[in-house]
């Protein structure tokens, strides 16, 4: 019997030894469900998890996920639509369209309806008005471009297909980016793709469609040889916008399509349905590298994010610059910011003239930065503590 007791004691001893825990949850400066939402990725694959955490201010202080925030993996992804206090998301796995809110560290579906149409992860979106969302994206095998017009109050969907010209011989797929709404028209960029590893169509393609609450009717398409690629999807990164005059600006992001061609900003004047041939802004010329994202900050100025190819030996190669879209000039390279290691992610927000940039810095250098829109100086804001893989996106709701 003694030996049994001895064995059990030995086991208990081991158990006690192994279960000594050092984990402590430290309080954060900010633990709220404020207007600003940060999305963070934690862990290595296959154990990656996405968390959302809300903060009241991004100007100062710090935040971490210790006892704060909510895991949303599987229920939502950071390719998502923020709008007036809520997020809208298509869950393709569940076949649903969901409206979420983040309150008291809780990620709650507010309204949900069955939905099946657009291949959401490859789609993009824009707003026809505050209540009407336009989502456009390919089907599953990328052979056509589908759209849904969504009334976000009633969850009524109008689904259809954009009547684009047939995919040219030799190409097997189609992709879409840079979706904008202006003055009753819907503008977008697109591209033809081949089966990997053959290169995609090496010209920039654009389309315009007439909007009505019952559907989109194609007006026309055109192409330009100065650049290539459809531009980015606003779900992940903005690369287009409409200014106060109703003019549409679209940046092409050819880094995934054709590395030899530059990033160019194209323009549609308000109410027109063909490109303003007098306006082409070669952004690569002034930044020295291809761009991946473009965010209007007012007064014809925009922030452009680009991959500085001259930086080697690190994955932190992405930089930001302020450019003047009206005068087609460089205003300032934001060299005081640490270099970022993310590319197509939603890292810039503009709110009432204030501009914030979330930067995945090297080491623990993860901050939201405030850009002064007069001097274009940057100041350090909130510190995101506890190093993780990525700040995935930042939103102001």
């Amino acid at each position: 019997m003694k030996i049994i007791l001895k064995s059990i004691s030995f086991l208990l001893l081991l158990t006690v030894l192994f279960s000594c825990s050092k984990d402590k949850t430290l309080p954060d400066d900010q633990t709220t469900d404020g207007n600003y939402v940060l999305w963070l990725q934690v862990g290595s694959w296959p154990n990656t998890s996405q968390y959302v955490v809300g903060v009241n201010s991004v100007d100062e202080g710090s935040v971490s996920l210790s006892g704060n925030g909510r895991e949303v993996t599987g229920r939502a992804d950071y390719g998502i639509i923020p709008h007036k206090g809520y997020y809208y998301y298509i869950n393709e796995e569940e076949g649903s369209f969901v409206k979420f809110e983040l309150k008291n560290n809780n990620w709650t579906p507010v309204k949900e309806a069955p939905y099946v149409h657009v291949n959401f992860a490859s789609a993009t979106y824009t707003w026809a008005n505050d209540n009407t969302l336009i989502i456009a994206g390919p089907n599953g095998d990328y052979t056509k471009i589908l759209y849904s017009i969504v009334d976000i109050e009633t969850f009524k969907f109008v689904n259809g297909e954009l009547a684009l010209p047939a995919i040219p011989t030799g190409y097997s797929g189609i992709s879409i980016g840079n979706l904008e709404f202006s003055n009753g028209n819907v503008y977008f960029g697109f591209n033809y793709t081949k089966d990997w590893p053959d290169p995609s169509y090496d010209k920039a393609l654009f389309g315009v469609a007439k909007y009505s609450s019952t559907g989109l009717v194609m007006i026309g398409t055109e192409e330009d040889a100065a650049s290539a690629g459809p531009g980015s999807s606003r779900l992940w990164t903005a690369s287009s916008n409409v200014d106060v005059n109703g003019d549409v600006y679209m940046l092409t992001t050819p880094q995934m399509v054709n590395k030899a061609l530059p990033s160019v900003v194209y323009k549609y004047k308000n109410g027109t349905t063909s490109l303003d041939q007098s306006y082409k802004f070669n952004v690569s010329n002034i930044t020295g590298s291809n761009a991946v994202g473009l965010w209007f900050i007012g007064g014809g100025k925009a922030i452009v994010k680009y991959n500085n190819l001259s930086v080697t030996g690190t994955t932190h190669t992405y930089e930001y610059a302020v450019i003047d879209l009206y005068n087609k000039t460089l205003v300032k390279k934001l060299t005081d910011l640490p270099r970022d290691n993310s590319d197509y992610i939603q890292t810039v927000i503009v709110e009432d003239g204030k501009v914030y940039l979330a930067i995945n810095g090297e080491g623990a250098n993860d901050y939201v930065w405030n850009l002064n829109t007069t001097t274009y100086e940057v100041t350090q804001g909130i510190n995101i503590k506890g190093d993780f893989d990525y700040i995935l996106r930042i939103d102001v709701l």
Partner: protein
Amino acid sequence: MNIKLLLITVLSFFSFVATAQNTAKILGQIRDRHGVMVQVSVQLKELAQSTPTDKDGKFAFSNIKAGDYTLLVSHIGYQPLQQKVSLKTGEVLNLTLLLEESTTEMQTVTVTGKTKTQELKESGFAVNAIETKQFANTNTNLSQILNKSTGVKVREKGGVGGDFDFSVNGLSGKQIKFFIDGIPLEILGTAMSFNNIPVNLAESIEVYKGVVPVSLGSDALGGAVNIITNRSTKNYVDFSTSYGSFNTNKNALSTQLVNKKTGLTFRLNGFTNYSDNNYKMIGVRGITGDNIVGNKITIDETSKFITLDAERFHNRYKSAFGQAEVGISNKPYADALFVNFSYTGFDQQLQTGTDQRNVYGMATRDGHSINTGIRYSKNNLFVEGLNANTYWGYSKDISIVTDTARRKYYWNNVYAYNESAEISSLFSINNLIRPHIIGRTNISYNINHEHSLNLNYVFDRVENNSFNELITSSDDNPGIVRKNILGFAYQQDLFSNKLSNVLFSKYYGLGLKLNKYSSDNAVYENIRSSDNSLGYGLSSRYYLVKDLGLKFSFEKAYRLQEAGEMFGDGVNTVANLDLKPEHSYNFNLGTFYSKTLNKNHQLFIEANGFLRYAKDFIYAKVYQSNTPRTIYENLDKINISGAEAEVRYNYKDFLNATVNASYQKSISFSSANTSSNENTYNKKLPNQPWFFGNADFGIGKNDLIGKDSRVQFNWSINYIHWYYRTWEGLGAVIDEIPTQTIHNASLTYSFQKSKYNISLECNNLTNQLAYDNFKLQKEGRAYYVKLRYFISKN
């Protein structure tokens, strides 16, 4: 430290100690009426020493003082034997002892003396050795049996044939390797997985935790599982059929025909499994609306979600395996020379993704595999004590995932037309074709009764052809993986087997080849890479007193990188030519106590503690999920510590009880940034059970209903403590998977000396909501009946 130097020093030391004394000796051989008997336990009663017989049935007790002694010999299925001997100083006694078979050989619980599995448990390795005989009449498969043993957790998607993840002391997936009679199990094809193999095909199963003997030649980082099949030279037929809930039918056949005169032997093994797996899902989401025709819905304003309990409707699984082996045994030139042919096939409907919210209604997976091989073994080849065996086999394994339906299914078996496929958005018929060659040669040499050597070589070459049949008809750039694994072990059994040490070293040679598209030059390039690694380890066992042993084992173990991990696929995975094998320092420390009282009460207790320092874990780092590019890096460090214990008790063949518990703590020390630590640093890995246990209780009586009959009742409880689904300490709310306790019971009636057996079984008796990964629900209460016919003749 120079490892070779250390090895030589230790080796010389023990050899010196061993030869320093010189007294009397007992040498002997154990035989039955068919020939020599291996792994039979021989005890020297007065000195409380015991030793197993070797491959020639021989045993030895050295350094014994003169006097009168009693030798006790016992083996399962045989009558125990006692032999008195007298020894004079300097005498070398030579004995041949003959064991008589007992008449009740096939009874469920007849354990006298040490069985093979018991001997293994009392070796230096941290090993679960399980005799499957006790489960032969139940409807179970190998993975369910292993799930009841310490340190092992099998996590299933649910249902017959469902995907599973097998973990040993916290390491799982590619880190655990599977074998059948020492040959990598992969050679028999995809369907030959542990959740599919019926219990009747195996005689015993061994699970090596962290430290793996060289005879199982593979890059097993976390451990290895070896199925031992029946290798007796008897004629036998073992046929069973079962039927139960969810329209589940399983059949198994294992038979052997031996012509004693000519040695010509013919064996046939096979099984079929079928199940609709249509168990009920509780509280899942369906769809309803005005616009439903048949089971197709057109989504409009009237469509809405409903919550319901629904039967799984696309979950059928079927598989079959057949193997024929023909050869000769017990010839002067070969103890065994066999050729075999086998076929496996499976066909599976896929019901969900990794998460049960993701419902499929059309996607399928099917495949088949053909295999042929030859094996040869000969003991005392050329010289006494030199034993050799070799196996060479070829297989071609085809597995196809079909994902072409333009449908989105909901749990009430209603679907909406969808512009995307079910599993991925892209429509595909993905083929994976793998031609595979495996060769294994094992040579052992018993220098004397105290020292032996073992050399094991494994050659493994596999080509991975993967392509979407809708786009292309072949793979332009198949990856080729070639492994050469050489192991060498030295074993010493000293002080009359009181101390046993095994020192070993393993060499891993890896060659990778891939025809890869280079986007810079726009051409296909032939890339090759090779890697050499050297692992080593030891295992020791020491009897403190009779029946009480201490054991320790250690290994620096490797898992070699795969072609896809290193070269990428050019589309979503970026190449990383600097990728290294992952490795782990594995430590086990344990103790065991085995006692038989009054010949009737048998008690066995074991407790083990373990540590795993795993480094350079190969993980796909998600570059960013919207540009779905990943790169495999040697990224993670994980430290696992834990303890486990088991107590077993038998009273004659009337009562048996087993209770065990396993605790493990896996801590992540990964770091995405080299300069600082992640949020997950020093945190428990999510979605991993960390405390679980099992209890088994059996009671049986012979001749209760008629002569030569037996009634046996078994009750088992499987307990899993709650665990985190998301990272501990992160977020205001941490999701948990709650504690689960599952009860199973079975009642078996055997008659005509276990020739005919019928059993009734109920799994998940309390109909408790059971789940493993990500709260994916498993079966509720289920009933099975199994009929088994077994006959064995010499």
